[in-house]
Symmetry: C2
């Protein structure tokens, strides 16, 4: 699992292992990428680099850029965002020090590394690369709809930002534990850093969206599974184009619907009510059956972080009864999650 | 109708009138853009420019670049494609002559005008612009789903390349003739040249696809209609992302399904059967009702160019009976088309 992507996706095969840069962050929410890497790919992280003032930590050892290089790090990952997605001037000395120490820089912010002249100059001077994971590979072909070999699972959702990446990672790991030959296929910046490759689907030109998804999960052995990180929601008024291109191109055999109980409105919209999980199942089958007539729902992943354990368990049991399929919170795991995994593989 | 787009879309407001460049084309199919401009915007075309060897003509007067400029032309439109979408070297002298005569160049080919150093140099030397209509405007916002004022009609289809642009143009013209305040909103290169503005929806990054469609048909008077050129098909395994983003962002009150009877497979795919018109109606309502709960099908536009007049009329009458809505061929016009227009406005 999580091997560097094959040559077709070479543009986004990332140098590893990483040292995680946290800047001077004091808000854990801004360090989602660093914390996600530490949780999901600790073997790829040799340590962290913090600036004075930082209060957030991954718990990994604090290293200077040269110490990180000496431990085998090949890249420094900017594992923190700040408001506006920019790289503030007072971070730059450390980043240049990393380049000088022989590390490439990896980032997924709105501001591109190569647009900062000091960094571009230093990278050239030290012969290092500046890698923006928000930039899709060049020459993505138009999709064809050709059926590919191997099995595929896609996480879909009732909205953005409620656990589609986490669910895909947890399912991929669970499959691996069961001895299944599996790859997690990343479609967003944090997922790409965790996997060491992938395609930032929201940055792909729409004419090539399905083609990018086809490229992301190539032909594989018949018993191999790709577990693909979903994006957006098919009923999201802003992002459904991303979701549908990803659905068509992924041609999933199985999908899992991710949902956050209690969320009532879609993120970033003018008051759009959340779509029900049943409606998402209906639409995903109606649309996904175009490229895979055998598509089916494997179950539901609920993000119950706002609920107590007993309340969450009761809600999920009730919903599972009502929906006729397993409902589990991948973070809570347990037998409900085992049932979800079994249902996906059934 | 077809006034230059408002300032929000200034990046794609085109200088007009045009002189139409046909190169040395001998195949009418390659001159679709020039022929479309001559058919739909003759008042914007002062003449044509052909090279020795050309056998295709728009029927407009042959002019040199300076003659065209003297007649008021502000731009030369490359109205012809060739295999591969490139601009062959032997066209370049004429294009440079046009720049020298004071004309901007407009093209919509895969190869960008500005990537040809001779043209880029000449444009700078003569102070002229190279305008690629396949390049979307910068800074397209993410869609919000906010309901906009005014009425909207979107042409959708059972496949690509079967008359969505033609149908939208014909409907816009018919509405105009009935005294309706109407704008044709172009989403592809030929449509953009005809309208003098628009957004090439297939070239927009997928995260911004719905936002681009929102930008394309802004708030308007309550009795104003935007007639929006559709793209792709919601069940096309390559292009559905474009179609869904355009559908959500257009929030149409009415849609017309464009179809070519006799076509059995989707263009460019691995043998995908064409979706039925009824299924397209179902899916368009299921998905489009997200941003406009009042969405309805106004009827069907059939491309019957492969049929004789009697056969076409009989087929359309039968299908209209079966579907319970008007079916017309916009090219044939007649009372069936009047019925379609009336149904859209009903």
């Amino acid at each position: 699992m999580n091997a560097p992507m094959e040559h077709a996706l070479g543009a986004l095969a990332l140098p590893q292992p990483y040292v995680l840069f946290l800047g001077d962050t004091t808000i854990a929410g801004f360090a989602k990428t660093a914390l996600g890497l530490k949780d999901w790919a600790p073997e790829k992280c040799v340590g962290e680099l913090r600036l004075p003032g930082a209060t957030v930590t991954t718990g990994l050892e604090a290293l200077t850029p040269s110490e990180a290089a000496a431990r085998g790090a090949r890249a420094l990952v900017i594992g923190v965002a700040n408001q506006g997605g920019v790289i503030p001037p007072h971070w730059r000395a450390s980043l240049i020090e990393a380049l000088e120490a022989g590390l490439d820089l990896i980032a997924g912010m709105h501001m591109r590394l190569s647009d900062i002249p000091e960094l571009a100059d230093a990278a050239e001077r030290f012969g290092r690369r500046l890698i923006d994971v928000r930039v899709p590979p060049a020459r993505i072909p138009v999709g064809t709809g050709r059926k590919r070999s191997g099995k595929r699972l896609l996480t879909v959702g009732t909205d953005c930002a409620l656990g589609k990446k986490y669910t895909a990672l947890a399912l991929a790991r669970a499959l691996e534990r069961r001895g299944v030959d599996v790859d997690f296929r990343a479609t967003g910046q944090t997922g790409i850093m965790i996997a060491g490759g992938g395609i930032p689907m929201d940055a792909v030109v729409s004419d090539f969206e399905a083609g990018a998804a086809e490229l992301l999960s190539p032909d594989a052995a018949e018993d191999h599974w790709d577990v693909i990180e979903g994006q957006g929601a098919i009923t999201h008024p802003s992002y459904a184009a991303v979701s549908l291109g990803l659905l068509h191109g992924s041609q999933p055999d199985v999908f899992v619907v991710c949902h956050e109980p209690g969320r009532t409105e879609m993120l970033g919209t003018a008051g759009y009510p959340l779509t029900s999980v049943e409606r998402i199942v209906e639409l995903t089958i109606a649309l996904g059956s175009r490229t895979n007539p055998a598509i089916r729902c494997g179950g539901f992943a609920f993000n119950t972080s706002a609920l107590g354990a007993a309340e969450a368990a009761e809600l999920m049991a009730r919903e599972s009864e009502r929906l006729g399929l397993p409902v589990a919170d991948p973070i809570r795991g347990g037998s409900a999650f085992d049932a979800l995994v079994a249902s996906c593989l059934a």
